[in-house]
């Protein structure tokens, strides 16, 4: 009797429990993938080379699982303990320390490592990173990047344009929004083309990830943005302060103009009666004397 026949014969009484056993496993795998996408991809790839953090392909072969699970719980603690491998990682990452990840439990760490192991075996992992072309940036890229940043060119997936929350030196006018950090030197901070590209593809801060998890930037949008940020960083621009100063200066001037206008429009408004009378006659008396 084949299994198939058996299933048919005995019916649901058998396979319903099977679903219950298999279901959670499948769910767990998906959970690890989602978690990785949401929290790790901005610094790591699997087989795509290092970004800020190392490439995680075959990481389970480089170090034992127990160590990895422990490291994932709290990277900083490992470094503080003086663990040599952890210190080496820190060195390689040019002193950027992996943050503590919210919700990271030993069970989840295990799950992630299993997932990474499985992905490492694939010829091309889904986390090989965003493939952004290596071609040198052109002037057009920079122009396009600016258009995307300023919102002149809409983002394909409908995300809000960068300028709503960010500014950079050269944004013109009053600069952009001040909710997020100034991006003039972000290219350096995020360690260059590849890392920043990955960051843009899956931003890791709570505000950014909330906004862009469902409306991710596209590779052809990221490239021009990188060109723009590379350009501003290279030109040695400091953070943009002129926009802020201009904003306050303009506000001040407009306020003064409005008040002057009001004073003019309502110049016949009621102010006082008695005082002017007294002043007038005082002036008459003094004028007569001199």
């Amino acid at each position: 009797m084949t299994l198939k026949l058996l299933l048919h014969r005995i019916g649901p009484a058998f396979y319903i429990p099977l679903i219950f056993i298999a279901g959670p496993v499948a769910a767990h795998a998906q959970e690890a993938v989602d978690f990785f996408r949401g929290n790790c991809t901005s610094c790591h790839t699997i087989g795509g080379g290092r970004l800020t953090g190392p490439d995680l392909k075959d990481v389970t072969q480089r170090k034992d699982r127990a160590w990895l699970v422990q490291f994932l719980q709290s990277p900083q603690a490992m470094i503080d303990k003086g663990d040599p491998y952890a210190l080496k990682l820190k060195d390689e990452a040019r002193d950027v320390v992996m943050p503590n990840i919210n919700g990271m439990s030993p069970a989840l760490a295990e799950l992630l490592l299993t997932m990474i192991e499985a992905e490492s075996k694939l010829p091309k992992s889904q986390f090989a990173g965003l493939q952004i072309s290596d071609r040198p940036f052109t002037q057009q890229d920079i122009e396009l990047g600016k258009a995307i940043f300023m919102g002149d060119k809409r983002l394909a997936n409908g995300g809000p344009p960068c300028v709503t929350c960010h500014t950079f030196n050269g944004a013109g006018g009053f600069g952009g929004g001040r909710l997020g950090p100034d991006l003039s030197r972000a290219f350096e901070r995020l360690q260059g083309r590849k890392a920043m590209g990955a960051w843009l593809y899956a931003p890791a801060t709570p505000t950014m990830s909330l906004t862009f998890s469902k409306k991710a930037l596209k590779a052809e949008e990221i490239l021009p943005l990188l060109a723009l940020f590379e350009n501003t960083a290279r030109s040695g621009a400091e953070d943009d302060r002129t926009g802020l100063a201009g904003f306050f200066a303009t506000g001040f001037v407009v306020a003064v103009l409005c008040l002057t206008l009001f004073a003019f429009i309502w110049k016949a408004r009621f102010r006082a009666v008695r005082d002017p009378l007294v002043e007038l006659s005082a002036r008459k008396v003094l004028g007569g004397r001199s």
Binding site: R269, F270, R271, A272, V273, R274, D275, L277, V278, S281, K284, V285
Partner: protein, 496 residues
């Protein structure tokens, strides 16, 4: 014809001695509370002068009263739309400086001061801030033309005079002034009532007294700008407006208002008049030179059977009609036509009328002596020290004829009485003057009596106020019949 009753007043300016007793009587009863120190529901001004608040007659500044625009009456200060935009900021309010900062003196210091080389003094203390102040002005700062280069010369009524007349008025040998006591006019077309966004102001149906409902007033202050006589006041303590209430609690108990009662010069008369409420809108919108006559025509003859019937039909009690028949106001305003409204051109139809004062004889300086120009004690009206135009600006809505009529009649009465009592005036001349002044000897006698020999009861003819009837409109008088005692205004917080 919509006949209603109105408490109406006459102030005989020829009799006012400027003693301010009236103001003090009012202050002691009504405006001695915190927030009301600066208010003078009754005040007495010297004319020429700017009065209280300073230059209140200058509606270019204060924007009070009504104006006629394309045949319609409009408040000068506001409109329904403007009320919305200005609800939190009502412009054209007199400032505290335009009234004056009320003050008292630090009398305690006189008793507590440490011993020193000189006598202690009592320094002035602001009643608003409690701080030491430099007194800059008061409610009668320009009394008897004090500070006239500042105040008297800026009297808005002088605008009617030509520069020559103006200069003459302040020449020493022509100098004259008189007093103008003022209270709320309890107008027939009150600007204050019309301007109130909260509907807190109302004119009492039974006697026309204009009152502020203190519970309803929200302190928007629209009334303060709207009243052209600046007889609405803002209480900065309660945040509500207050005004003269014509001592209605006194009236309801048959007594004259405090300022009337206490008046030393006995210049004040009070009585009820019947008027036709249907014609208020029409009359208030007439051209300026018709206003005085038209306002007079609003007041109805209380002896006319048709008027009596209409009054009765409108719920005016017979006793009120009887009182109107004896009203001194009616005689001054309607019979004799010698009492005129103050600034009728503000179109609020004020119900306080003034008998314009006779100005002293004109004088002339020859060499070092000052002589009277006229040999007659009762000189010609148009040669009076106060130009007739000046009087007309106040009492004639610019119409000198009405003022001249009133002054001539007064003068004729004086001549006539002089002929009767002293005899140094020819009776024939006196009678001719009476004829010319549109006055009979009997009328002259009556004017003389009511002016000079008036008793309390002649001056104040107060009708029974019939509060019991008025109250029935608002409450059921039998509501508390089965209750215990007199009941409570506010229900008690305990018991069952």
């Amino acid at each position: 014809m919509d006949v209603r009753a109105q408490m109406s007043m006459v102030f005989h300016l020829d009799k006012c001695i400027g003693c301010h007793t009236c103001s003090i009587a009012c202050k002691n009863i009504w405006t001695d509370r915190k927030g009301t120190e600066y208010m003078w529901w009754n005040n007495v001004e010297t004319k020429p002068g700017t009065g209280y608040p300073t230059a209140w007659e200058d509606q270019e500044k204060y924007h009070g009263g009504w104006v006629v625009e394309d045949g319609n009456l409009h408040l000068r200060s506001t409109s329904k739309t403007q009320t919305v935009f200005n609800i939190f900021h009502n412009p054209h309010q007199p400032s505290m400086d335009d009234y004056y900062e009320p003050w008292t003196y630090d009398y305690q210091h006189l008793f507590n001061a440490p011993e020193g080389p000189d006598q202690p003094t009592a320094v002035p203390i602001s009643m608003v801030t409690g701080d030491l102040i430099q007194i800059k002005a008061g409610p009668n700062w320009d009394d008897d033309m004090g500070g006239s280069p500042v105040y008297a010369e800026n009297d808005p009524n002088l605008a009617q005079l030509n520069p020559e007349q103006r200069a003459q008025m302040f020449a020493v040998q022509r100098l004259m002034f008189f007093y103008l006591p003022r209270i709320c006019n309890h107008c027939l077309n009150p600007a204050c009532v019309a301007s109130c966004p909260s509907g807190a102001l109302h004119k009492r149906g039974e006697d026309g007294i204009v009152l502020v409902d203190q519970k309803r007033c929200r302190g928007w202050r629209a009334c303060i700008a709207a009243c052209p006589y600046k007889k609405m006041y803002y209480n900065w303590q309660t945040g509500k407006s207050e005004k003269c209430i014509l001592c209605y609690p006194r009236l309801e108990t048959g007594q004259a208002p405090a300022c009337f009662h206490s008046c030393v010069g006995r210049i004040r008369y009070l009585g009820v008049v019947l008027y036709d409420a249907d014609r208020i809108r029409e009359v208030a919108g007439l051209p300026q030179d018709e206003l005085i006559e038209a306002q007079r025509s609003l007041i109805l003859n209380p002896n006319d059977p048709a008027v009596i019937a209409a009054a009765r039909q409108n719920g005016v009690h017979d006793s009120v009609v009887e009182s109107a028949q004896k009203s001194p106001t009616y005689r001054f305003v309607k019979d004799w036509k010698i009492a005129l409204p103050l600034h009728a051109e503000y179109r609020t139809l004020p119900m306080l009328f003034y008998v314009p004062p006779m100005a002293p004889v004109m004088a002339q300086k020859t060499g070092t002596t000052v002589d009277n120009i006229s040999e007659d004690l009762f000189h010609d009206i148009d040669d009076a020290r106060a130009p007739i135009e000046y009087m007309a600006s106040m009492f004639g809505a610019g119409n000198a004829g009405k003022v001249r009529y009133a002054l001539r009649k007064q003068k004729a009465v004086r001549w006539y009485r002089r002929a009767v009592t002293v005899g140094d005036v020819d009776m024939a001349t006196a009678e001719r003057m009476l004829r010319e002044a549109d006055c009979s000897p009997a009328e002259a006698e009556a004017i003389y009596k009511l002016t000079s020999l008036c008793t309390f009861d002649d001056r104040f003819v107060i009708p029974p106020m019939h509060r019991e009837q008025a109250v029935e409109m608002l409450e059921d008088p039998l509501a508390h019949k089965q209750g215990v005692g007199f009941g409570f205004m506010e229900s008690p917080r305990r018991g069952l």
